[in-house]
């Protein structure tokens, strides 16, 4: 098999466009609780690939607004679903990318987000109470994008993250939980937004992140677990914030991500040979962007949004991916 060096952008664009068509598909129904998030993943991937308009803007905005939970004052992942902080972040990110943030009732959303913070400083995802540093990140990211970060109790929030720091320098989902690359990503990005990277033992953590790279070039999320394309983003974004992306083997990771492309239907899978999905498509492309892959737009690893939009809002933090290589090299 010849090694795949190319990112098949037109194919992936078609794949993302086709996702909304398969309302009969099993996966479409099973994943209703991720719908809004999936649209964000699709739109971000398209934008980074330079094909933002491949999906209809007005339809998308109307769908986002149909996810508004007027009782709670936030967005749910699907119409009729209860508001959730992750869906709320996705809604805000989509509306910013579609230049339609004016549709959001910022006061109410801010109130909803802040209401999810626990006395300990962590955030619940919704009124049902699952606690996770991922939700803390959703809250901090969303408040920052809305220009309401100043309403957050920063000390309390940072204190919780500090208590999640483990003996290996990594971070877990809650205090006492095992270090995991996805949790490291969200804790690092949250601290970056809050200008508190001092909480991190940066050298130790960057080394732990570099250690995620396996001989096949892919990354795992914890020692002795399997590689998965999505860790390309969780690990790389944290490394970019710590400005240590050079510590991993970029060529091998690039080859790994590309080997997980589905060259028939488009999209990227968790690992070579598996079924693609929009989640792994987005995070694979996001990883490639941070690696400087030619032909892609810049992605801000703190907010996981197109870098230009974050710059325009004056929110850019001091991060560093690999330089963008010119096409044809």
């Amino acid at each position: 098999m010849t090694s795949n060096r190319e990112l098949h952008i037109p194919l992936h664009v078609k794949y993302i466009q086709a996702l909304g068509d398969s309302k009969d598909d099993l996966m479409y129904h099973l994943t209703a609780h991720l719908r809004l998030n999936a649209i964000y993943w699709g739109l971000t991937a398209l934008t980074i690939m330079g094909h933002k308009n491949a999906l209809n803007r007005d339809e998308m905005i109307e769908f986002v607004m149909s996810c508004w939970d007027d009782e709670a004052g936030g967005f749910g992942p699907h119409p009729d679903h209860d508001a959730h902080v992750h869906a709320t972040l996705s809604a805000i990110q989509i509306l910013i990318m579609q230049d339609a943030l004016d549709r959001v009732d910022v006061d109410r959303v801010t109130k909803f987000i802040l209401s999810l913070q626990q006395p300990s400083g962590v955030f619940a995802g919704d009124k049902y109470g699952e606690l996770d540093t991922r939700f803390l990140y959703c809250a901090v990211n969303a408040l920052s994008l809305l220009g309401r970060l100043h309403e957050l109790d920063t000390e309390k929030t940072v204190d919780y993250i500090r208590l999640c720091r483990n003996f290996d320098g990594g971070f877990g989902a809650v205090i006492g939980a095992e270090s995991h690359a996805a949790q490291v990503c969200v804790c690092t990005a949250s601290l970056a937004i809050l200008d508190r990277l001092d909480v991190i033992d940066q050298q130790t953590l960057a080394w732990w992140l570099a250690e995620r790279q396996l001989p096949n070039g892919g990354f795992n999320g914890r020692p002795e677990k399997l590689e998965d394309v999505c860790y390309s983003y969780w690990v790389l974004s944290a490394l970019a914030i710590l400005k240590k992306v050079s510590w991993i083997d970029a060529e091998k990771l690039t080859a790994f991500i590309l080997s997980a492309e589905d060259l028939e239907q488009g999209g990227i899978a968790d690992r070579p040979g598996d079924q693609p999905d929009v989640f792994h498509t987005h995070f694979g492309i996001a990883g490639l962007s941070l690696l400087g892959f030619p032909g892609l737009g810049d992605l801000d690893p703190v907010y996981c949004m197109p870098a230009k939009l974050i710059e325009a809002r004056g929110l850019t933090k001091d991060w560093q991916g690999l330089p963008r290589r010119a096409l044809g090299l």
Binding site: D24, D80, Y128, G176, R222, S246, W247, I248
Partner: protein
């Protein structure tokens, strides 16, 4: 006790076909759905049950029949989080026996360990069961729960939510006997798979983290540390190329402010290219790499370099040599990291 009158695989009557449910107005979901390829639970049964669920939520009904309905839904779709929450609310409203509910959950969890809601529901039940008004012997409850968690972990030894729940449970009860019982448990897991990072993390949590005894004397703490250092050395000798064990070792040395250099005699044999003949001599304090180990061990080279650079003086030069070996031969994937360490050390920066 299951409120379902029949087993899952016998097709029950739809709620819309049952006379005793006629007083409820079902509410369909937002999207009109054309006929799907029948998955395991996206069926007319699921659509029907969730329609009736939306109906009872709207009227705020909390009754025994709601327990039947929510059980049916979570069996079909454990990710339906509002069904879980509404079920819990209904359990409280009907004064249902929560220990019985726990037993029912034991059966359901067997299918769906990866769903967060399964564990969140247990957390709510346990918290409620052990609150003052309903307290039996809390340690009994906790012990039974630890056994259940152990059975689940036996099938999926690194399940993140399950481990997190175990850690929550131990901290919630904070019983000395329960904490102590974790050591043989972790040991069993590591005997099965010495590379289980979750088990190593849990050991740290129990011994040095939340489970550490605040009333321990310095002498007792010293004993615990020595015991753990011996433990991790033994595990390293069994399987040297095990990042979790080396991370654990570094973690406990940092925690106790023990210089890495005290581990030099132990580490050195792991940094050689092969197991030396004289290494047959048994040294209990410094167990040697097993004869089939792949040497040199990268983590050992890394550790040795760290010990040298921290010692300072001519240790810096020795560290640089080791980092060069790592960059150029033994761990070329992370070449830039090793070169960074070399540059920093030669520029005289301390860590």
């Amino acid at each position: 006790m299951s409120y379902l009158s029949s087993e899952d695989d016998v097709a029950p009557l739809l709620y819309c076909e049952r006379p005793e449910w006629q007083d409820v107005t079902p509410i369909s979901q937002y999207e009109a759905v054309s006929s799907p390829i029948a998955p395991i639970f996206y069926t007319p049964e699921y659509k029907d049950a969730t329609n009736y669920f939306r109906g009872v939520v709207k009227t705020g009904e909390t009754s025994e029949r709601v327990l039947e309905l929510t059980e049916r839904i979570i069996r079909m779709n454990p990710a339906h989080y509002s069904a879980w929450q509404y079920r819990y609310r209904t359990l409280l409203a009907t004064n249902a026996p929560l220990d019985v509910e726990l037993k029912l959950m034991d059966q359901i969890a067997a299918h769906n360990m990866k769903t967060y809601q399964v564990w969140h529901h247990r957390r709510l039940l346990i918290t409620q069961l052990t609150s003052a008004s309903l307290a039996k012997d809390p340690v009994d409850t906790a012990t039974a729960e630890l056994e259940f968690i152990g059975n689940v972990l036996a099938l999926d030894t690194k399940n993140y939510h399950t481990w997190s729940y175990r850690q929550w449970l131990l901290a919630h009860f904070d019983d000395a006997g329960l904490w102590l019982g974790e050591l043989p448990y972790v040991d069993d897991l590591l005997l099965e798979d010495v590379r289980n990072n979750s088990a190593w993390h849990h050991r740290y949590f129990v011994v040095f983290g939340r489970g550490s005894r605040s009333q321990a004397t310095p002498a007792e703490e010293g004993e615990v540390l020595q015991r753990e250092i011996r433990y991790v050395k033994d595990k390293i000798s069994v399987a040297p190329n095990n990042p979790s064990a080396w991370n654990y070792l570094r973690g406990i040395l940092e925690y106790s402010n023990t210089p890495f250099s005290t581990l030099l005699p132990f580490t050195e044999p792991y940094t050689r290219a092969y197991v030396q003949p004289t290494d047959d001599v048994v040294d209990l304090d410094n167990p040697k790499p097993s004869s089939d180990a792949t040497l040199p061990c990268v983590a050992a080279l890394d550790f040795l370099a760290e010990a040298y650079v921290r010692a300072g003086g001519d240790g810096v030069g020795k560290a640089v040599e080791l980092w060069k070996q790592l960059a150029n031969e033994h761990d070329t994937m992370r070449k830039k990291y090793w070169e960074y360490r070399i540059k920093e050390a030669l520029e005289g920066k301390t860590n």
